[in-house]
Symmetry: C2
Subunit: 342 residues, 2 copies
C-alpha cells in the first residue's frame, strides 16, 4: 500500500499547534514565536511534508529560479552564471539574479521579495553569515548553494571546490620555484572560500617551515581593483617585502603585478604572483598570470542541475559535490628549481 | 471639477470592442488579432488609461524592479547596475536582473516571466530589436530604457549618452596625434550604441578626408576578449595595417593593445589605441588605455529615478536624457602634434 502524503493536519498534530498557525507559518503571515516556528519546521521535516505556499505556483506554472550573487563587480561570477543559465534554459527555466551585497543579510530582507515573487527554487552564491537564514530559505523553497556553502550543514546541496587544497597547490608551486617569503592577498573572511584559501596558505607555510608574517597578509573588503592596488603597493614598499604573492582572485593578482611594476619591481624575477579563478583577466595582463583554474561554468551548471532535481522531486536527498581545480602556469612565476621534488 | 479617471468601458467604447476583449488584452489571456490589439492600445494611450493587470499588485505591495541586461560578461554593465541598485535601495525597491542574451527577443519570451513575477516596473539595458516588443512591455508596466534606447520612439523615457559625438571626440584625438589610418573594433550593429559609434567614426574620417578601409573595420558578435584578440591580431597582420584603433569598449581596447604586443608592435608608437567606457580594465593594462568615460553609475541611477517617478505617477511624461562623456588620455596614445588645432 502506498504511504499516504502527510497533511497540514498531521503537521499541526505533531507540533501541537493549530492548523491556522501552520498555515500562517507556511504563508509567512503574522508574527510567530521562534520556538513555535522551530517546532513546526521540525514536524514538517520529520513528516517530509512539502508546504504549498500561496506564493508557490504549481510546478508547471512556475519556472523561475532566483540566483543570489554577492557582487556582480567580481568577474568570477559571470562564467558561473553562464553555467546556471545554460542549464536553466536547456530545461525551460527563467533565471532572475539578485545581487545581495550587504543588503540581504537577514531572513526578513528576503521575505518581502520571496513573498511577492513566486519562485520555483534558489541557487545561492552569496555567503550566508547565519546558518539560520539558509535553513529558513531552504524551508521556503528548494535551495542549492553554489561555490559558497555552509560548513557543517549538509541539509542543503552544494557544488564547490576544495579551496584549501587548491591554495596549497598554489603555495607549493611558489615554494618549488625558490620563493620563501610568500604574502597573501585575500578578501574578507565572511566567505567560506576566503577562510579555506587562507587555511591552505597558512598550513603550507607552517609545514614547510616558512615565515608567517602578518605584514604580508592583506584582507580587503571588496574585489575592487584600485583598493587592492594601493594596499599591495604598500605591502611591496615594506623594507622586508615578500618575494611572492598568492592572490585569492585574478583581480587581486593583476593588482599585484601592476603594483610591482609601479614600484619598479620585475615580475616574476623580483616578485612572483599567482592568482585564482582563471578568468579572462589572467591572460589580459602583462605578464600573463599564473593562476588556479576553477571550473566556473561547470560549478554553475551542476548546481542548477541539482536544484532542478530538487524542484522536480522534493524528496531527492542533498548532495555535496567538490569539483577539481588545476594550476595553470603562465609568466608571472619562475620555473621550478631543478632537483626540487615538486 | 476634477477630471474623472477613464474606465475599461471608455477604452472598450473608443476601440469599438467588448469589455471582455480589453480585459483579455490587459491580462494577456488568449489570442487577440494584431489590429484589435493595436486599436485597444491606442485607445488606452489616448485616454491615458492605466491598466491594472492581475499580475500587478498595488504599489505598496509591489516593490520589485526588473532590470534587463544583455550580457553580464560585459564589465560595462556592472557600474551601471551599481547606480540602479543605489537608487532602488534608497527608495526601498528590490532589483531583480534578467540576462536577456539572445534568449529574450520576442514579446512571448517575456510574457510567462512577467505573468508569474509581479513587477512594479522595468529598466531595459538590452537592445530591443523590434520596437513592437518595447511598446508591448511598456504597455504592461512602467518601463525606462538605460544606455540603449529605441531611436524615433519617444514614448519610453531613457538615459543614455550621445555615442556619435563621443566617438567623434575619440577619432579627432587620434587624428590630432598624427594618426591617419584609423581602424574600428565594434560589436554587432543590433545595439544602438554600436550603430551610433560607427556613424561618428565614419563621419569624422570622411570630414577629415581620411581613408575608410573595410579591412580595418571589425564587427564582433560578443564582447569576448579572446575573440577580439584573434580578430585584431589578424587585422594588425595585414600588409597595409592601421596606425590606430578606435575600440568601442575597453575590453576590445585591451585586446588591441595585447594583439599589437603579440606581433611585436609598440603601443602607442606603432599603433595607438582608444577604448570606450573607462571601466577598471582601462587602468589594469600596460600601457594604460586612453578611453571615453561614460558616467556609468549616473546613467543607471538616473534611469532608475525616472522609472520610480513613473511608477509613483503613471501620467509623468516621458523624458530623454543624454549625459556627458569625456576623453581620458592615458598612455596608449601619442601626444597631440604641436600646431594642430585640436
Amino acid at each position: 500500500m502506498k504511504k499516504q502524503k502527510p497533511t497540514i493536519q498531521d503537521v499541526a498534530d505533531m507540533a501541537e499547534v493549530s492548523i491556522a498557525t501552520v498555515s500562517r507559518i507556511i504563508n509567512n503571515k503574522g508574527n510567530i514565536k521562534p520556538h513555535t516556528l522551530e517546532r513546526v519546521q521540525m514536524a514538517m521535516r520529520e513528516l517530509n511534508f512539502t508546504p504549498k505556499t500561496s506564493s508557490m505556483l504549481s510546478e508547471s506554472e512556475n519556472r523561475t529560479i532566483l540566483v543570489c550573487v554577492p557582487n556582480l563587480d567580481n568577474p568570477f561570477y559571470s562564467p558561473v552564471l553562464n553555467g546556471i543559465h545554460r542549464c536553466a534554459h536547456n530545461t525551460n527555466y527563467h533565471i532572475l539574479i539578485l545581487e545581495t551585497q550587504d543588503r540581504y543579510t537577514r531572513s526578513e530582507d528576503f521575505e518581502e521579495l520571496i513573498r511577492n515573487n513566486p519562485i520555483a527554487g534558489m541557487v545561492i552564491l552569496s555567503s550566508m553569515p547565519q546558518q539560520k537564514i539558509l535553513e529558513n530559505l531552504s524551508f521556503r523553497c528548494p535551495t542549492v548553494m553554489c561555490s559558497e556553502y555552509a560548513e557543517n550543514y549538509d541539509q542543503v546541496s552544494y557544488v564547490s571546490i576544495d579551496d584549501s587544497a587548491a591554495s596549497k597547490k598554489a603555495v607549493e608551486y611558489l615554494i618549488s620555484t625558490g620563493c620563501e617569503k610568500i604574502g597573501l592577498v585575500n578578501t574578507n573572511l565572511s566567505f567560506k572560500y576566503a577562510r579555506h584559501r587562507e587555511k591552505g596558505y597558512l598550513q603550507t607555510l607552517r609545514q614547510r617551515g616558512l615565515p608567517v608574517n602578518p605584514d604580508w597578509i592583506i584582507h580587503l573588503s571588496t574585489t575592487d581593483y584600485t583598493l587592492a592596488f594601493s594596499n599591495i603597493t604598500h605591502m611591496l614598499s615594506l623594507k622586508d617585502r615578500p618575494d611572492a604573492i598568492f592572490a585569492t582572485s585574478d583581480v587581486y593578482g593583476v593588482a599585484a603585478i601592476n603594483a610591482a611594476h609601479e614600484l619598479g619591481l620585475r615580475v616574476p624575477e623580483d616578485v612572483s604572483v599567482i592568482g585564482f579563478d582563471n578568468i579572462d583577466l589572467s591572460i589580459m595582463c602583462v605578464p600573463t598570470l599564473t593562476t588556479i583554474e576553477q571550473p566556473c561554468f561547470q560549478i554553475g551548471y551542476q548546481s542548477c542541475e541539482l536544484l532542478i532535481e530538487k524542484i522536480t522531486n522534493h524528496t531527492t536527498p542533498s548532495k555535496q559535490i567538490l569539483l577539481n581545480t588545476e594550476l595553470i602556469v603562465r609568466n608571472s612565476t619562475l620555473l621550478p628549481k631543478r632537483g626540487n621534488p615538486n
